[in-house]
């Protein structure tokens, strides 16, 4: 249909060109040229690095390759992470164990003691006795069977002469009696 149409068109325009169309135009090409063309194109795409990577994997039928690659990648990442954590742990500056708690404890005891002594007037005898008992229990725990009776006298035993004098001056007779 199309050919007839062109022939018709050429008929009036150029009978010579119409005649030439029926002859061999002389153009040839190598045998199996088109069969080799595909690979030539893909070789050039490979050389240019333009071939789609995903397609390369799929076309080779080795999806396993990509899976292995990702597993290897994850294992490497995990190893690197473990190494970093180990290095951080190893080189971490260890805090020096300062004898602070002991010092603090001693200081607190001393502070309490001096506070009590300074303000001994403000304490009730029972409070002083209880404080003394607590102090004893903490410092030297009594044997299970030994009864520990709180005695205000124990506190007085540990007082210096000056402290004792000061205390006695402040105490009323009734307070002194009850203590005894």
């Amino acid at each position: 249909m199309k050919k007839e149409s062109l022939d018709k068109e050429l008929e009036g325009l150029s009978p010579k060109l119409q005649e030439l169309r029926r002859e061999n135009d002389g153009f040839r090409l190598p045998d199996s040229y088109f069969e080799s063309l595909e690979e030539a194109v893909f070789s050039r795409l490979d050389a240019a690095g333009a071939r789609r990577q995903q397609e390369l994997t799929v076309s080779r039928g080795k999806g396993l390759h990509s899976r292995l690659f990702s597993i290897r990648w994850m294992a490497t990442a995990a190893a690197v992470l473990a190494l970093i954590l180990a290095a951080v742990w190893f080189f971490k500056p260890t805090p020096v164990a300062a004898p602070q708690p002991v010092a603090r404890q001693l200081t607190e005891e001393e502070i309490i003691e001096s506070y009590v002594l300074e303000n001994i007037r403000d304490f009730e005898v029972e409070q002083l006795a209880a404080l003394s008992t607590e102090h004893e229990v903490e410092s030297s725990p009594a044997p299970p069977n030994q009864q520990t009776t709180p005695k205000g006298g124990d506190l007085l035993d540990n007082m210096s002469a000056e402290e004792m004098e000061l205390l006695l001056k402040e105490m009323t007779d009734e307070e002194l009696e009850s203590l005894l």
Binding site: L10, L13, E23, G26, L37, L45, V58
Partner: protein
């Protein structure tokens, strides 16, 4: 989908479907090459004439298609898009050669004739060589219109979509080209 890939006369839609689907791009591209390689080869060969050049241009064309096919939006027919790329590649190739030799159009036509004679893949007679020289003397667009109509018998409507020129202008261009070739023959006869 598997059946489509082995079918030589797959439709453009089937080829595009393979190209766009995940994991079947290469299969679709091979099918596209199989489908269009001969038509594109002859289209290019008519423009550049020498087999070696046509081979080079065709490979460049397919590489361009490979890289750009996913940008094809389907606004035109697939072969129209492919022909446009092939035509541009062939013209770029010829322009590169002309720049390299810095020859005039007449000289270029003579050189082309001589190269054609030297091409082992051309065995046309004297009349065919004269025809090719006359075609080579045509302006670029006229030459393409002449080749598409004379050798490939492409309807003007399809040519119009491919070249972005009106049917009337294409008809006029073809007629003009035919007349020029006629007069070139006459001049050569004298």
């Amino acid at each position: 989908m598997q059946a489509i890939a082995t079918k030589k006369n797959a439709s453009d839609e089937q080829i595009l479907e393979l190209l766009r689907a995940e994991g079947t791009f290469e299969r679709g591209f091979r099918l596209l090459m199989e489908q269009y390689r001969e038509r594109l080869y002859w289209h290019i060969r008519r423009i550049v004439l020498i087999h070696e050049d046509a081979d080079d241009v065709l490979q460049n064309t397919f590489i361009k298609i490979y890289r750009g096919i996913l940008q094809f939006e389907g606004k035109s027919k697939l072969y129209t898009w492919l022909y446009r790329i092939a035509t541009n590649e062939a013209i770029t190739h010829l322009q590169g050669k002309a720049r390299h030799s810095a020859a005039s159009l007449d000289d270029s036509a003579d050189m082309l004739g001589n190269r054609l004679l030297a091409d082992e893949w051309f065995d046309g007679d004297d009349l065919q060589i004269r025809l090719q020289k006359a075609i080579a003397l045509l302006p670029e667009k006229q030459r393409i219109v002449f080749n598409l109509r004379y050798y490939e018998e492409l309807p003007y409507e399809e040519m119009s979509a491919m070249l972005g020129t009106s049917v009337g202008a294409l008809k006029a261009s073809f007629h003009h080209a035919v007349k020029k070739i006629e007069s070139a023959f006459k001049e050569q006869d004298h």
